[in-house]
Amino acid sequence: MTLSQYNIINLEKVENKIVPIFSAWPKELAGWWLQITEVSLFQTKYVAGFYFNNKKPEGSVVVSSFLPKEYPDIYCLIGNDSVVDRVYVNPVYRKKGFLSPCGPVLRSVVYSIFNLIVEATKDQSPKIYKAMGEAYQSIGEPVPLRNQEEDLSEMSLQNIEPPRDPAFPFIWASERTGGKIES
């Protein structure tokens, strides 16, 4: 691993897990900011939405009971067991490497504010598993093994998009960019 990657300057070991310490917001996420909303649903504790816009200064971390109306560019759910699930990336920003630095940022933020260590779900599509692998490598932590194929959900097996409103009735009501139009 490269310690300077994502502006990580140190690693703190907490119960066999590693929490990255950042000197600054990762330059790979220039222009992005994060909002974490506590939803306290049956399976979901928090919704984390990363935004690429100028509505907040770059690197802002908003912790709130409110959900922005704007659809996030990257979102994930944090379960009551601290497992991160239902990862979504705006199609406009896919294959650009934005997802990998979000993992260490999220672990650092959630540990700093809630004293929780987030972990990636083992039920992942191949694409998400690749990005998660890069995220774990950046903090020098072994990549958790993905579930065997027979234990994967249909969503991961078929690489199905997560639902539009994964924390219903908490909804991002503004326009969402869907898939590319096939000509």
Binding site: I171, A173, T177, G178, K180
Partner: protein, 198 residues
């Protein structure tokens, strides 16, 4: 129509025709009005403004109207347009077999400068009874598709349809996008974004 669960609504959506309802209102000069109002600046100084050596400080500049629901501006024209939109939503509910009263709808809106034409979009929520609308604020007619239904919108046209339908913008144009959600789907929303509909 009996009330459907969220999952039943998604199944319903995949097996139905696309429902749309179109109306019209006067929008001449409205886009420019909205842009002006949204960009009204507020300057905040810390007293004393003039320093001991005659230096003056720069104010902190904020845009207090930014991120508010622009249909809540106290203005007679905006009031008329809001009323036209609400009337159209009531007609749409009747046409789409939705109960306007029991859903206890709230409305929000976003001013859109241009629409990307290479991706489809959706808004409001994943399914009915939520609705969405597009009010054309451009200067010339534009083509869109809602699911596979082609529509031509002229300046001032408003189209209302069911949430979850895919919108393809075949032309890029200025618009006011409208979201209409029942109170049951508005957990965790910011206060200043939503107007209750009566």
């Amino acid at each position: 129509m009996a009330k459907l669960s969220h999952n039943e609504s998604l199944l319903y959506r995949s097996n139905k025709n696309t429902l749309t309802h179109i109306g019209h209102t006067d929008v001449s000069g409205l886009y420019e009005f909205f842009v002006k109002e949204l960009n009204q600046e507020e300057h905040t100084y810390r007293f004393p403004i003039m320093g001991i050596l005659g230096t003056s400080q720069k104010p902190q500049i904020t845009l207090p109207n930014k991120d508010k629901n622009i249909l809540s501006f106290p203005d007679s024209r905006v009031h008329k347009i809001f009323k036209d939109i609400v009337d159209l939503i009531k007609e749409s509910c009747s046409k789409f077999n939705l109960s306007y009263e029991s859903n206890r709808y709230y409305l929000s809106s976003d001013l859109i400068v241009s629409h990307p034409t290479d991706f489809w979009h959706d808004q409001s929520s994943a399914s009915r009874p939520s609705l969405f609308g597009i009010l054309h604020l451009g200067n010339s007619s534009s083509k869109i598709k809602i699911n596979e239904t082609p529509l031509t919108l002229n300046p001032g046209d408003i189209v209302i349809s069911e949430a979850g339908n895919r919108v393809t913008y075949l032309d890029s144009f200025k618009s006011l996008n409208i979201q209409v959600l029942p109170v049951s789907e508005l957990r965790g929303q910011y206060l200043e974004k939503w107007i209750p509909l009566y």
